[in-house]
């Protein structure tokens, strides 16, 4: 089994499952939002929708799914291209820096999203 300190669940199989489950949640969420938007929205209706507890929970679920999905996804991409095999030690340094940057962005997305859902 391949292990690494930067993957999500210490096991590739776990990450694989996270990737699939989060994909399904995102699919459901975007399909739902798409239907709502196609139906047309004004401020009052939109605001009321996001005031409902179930909608906030659904949105938070989608937000967390997005964050996990993105971490696993970006991790796969970075560990494929920024590697020691491709560019020596530079690869490892660049990869860790890129992962740090992505981690910061993911953290900002999470806090920002929660702020939008519960802040207004």
């Amino acid at each position: 089994m391949v292990t690494s300190v930067t993957n999500l669940g210490r096991s590739g199989l776990f990450d694989w499952v996270v990737q699939r489950v989060s994909a399904l949640v995102l699919l459901a969420y975007f399909a739902y939002i798409g239907c709502v938007l196609l139906g047309g929205v004004d401020y009052t209706g939109w605001r009321e929708l996001y005031a409902q507890t179930w909608m906030r929970v659904f949105s938070l679920g989608a937000l967390l799914s997005l964050v996990l999905h993105a971490w696993v996804g970006i991790w796969s991409v970075l560990t494929d291209y920024l590697t020691e095999r491709m560019m020596g030690t530079t690869g490892t340094v660049l990869r860790l820096l890129a992962q740090l940057l992505c981690g910061i962005v993911i953290f900002v997305y999470t806090v920002w999203g929660i702020q939008i859902l519960w802040g207004y």
Binding site: L24, L27, Y43, W46, Y109, I116
Partner: protein, 111 residues
């Protein structure tokens, strides 16, 4: 580069995934503005009405549509369906056809 269609679909899925990670900032920004206040909702409406913003939104939707279509294909193949060579090619063609169709429809909806 001459690559089989299945390779193109796969690499574009990867590229669209990375693109969406960045585009999430746009989506959160829009959600933020749409819920903040009636004024910001109206301002967002106006802002999204400009040509450049329409192009940005269309690009984000195109990325989302493509990534989702190719993602669903991925999940179907994970279930062991269409894993043969002809199955893979057919799936790849379907992904492209569905994405182009939905992206055009999204453009019609935006404009």
């Amino acid at each position: 580069m001459r690559l089989p269609i299945t390779a193109w679909v796969s690499i574009s899925h990867r590229a669209s995934g990375v693109f969406l990670f960045v585009a999430t900032a746009v989506l959160l920004w829009a959600l933020d503005a749409s819920l903040r206040s009636p004024e910001s909702f109206a301002a967002l409406r106006e802002c999204l009405d400009t040509l450049w913003m329409k192009l940005v939104i269309w690009a984000v939707l195109a990325g989302l549509i493509y990534h989702t279509a190719a993602g669903v294909r991925h999940l179907i193949m994970d279930c062991g369906i269409g894993e043969s060579m002809p199955g893979g090619v057919l799936g790849a063609r379907l992904v492209i056809a569905v994405s182009v169709l939905l992206t055009v429809l999204a453009g019609v909806w935006i404009w």
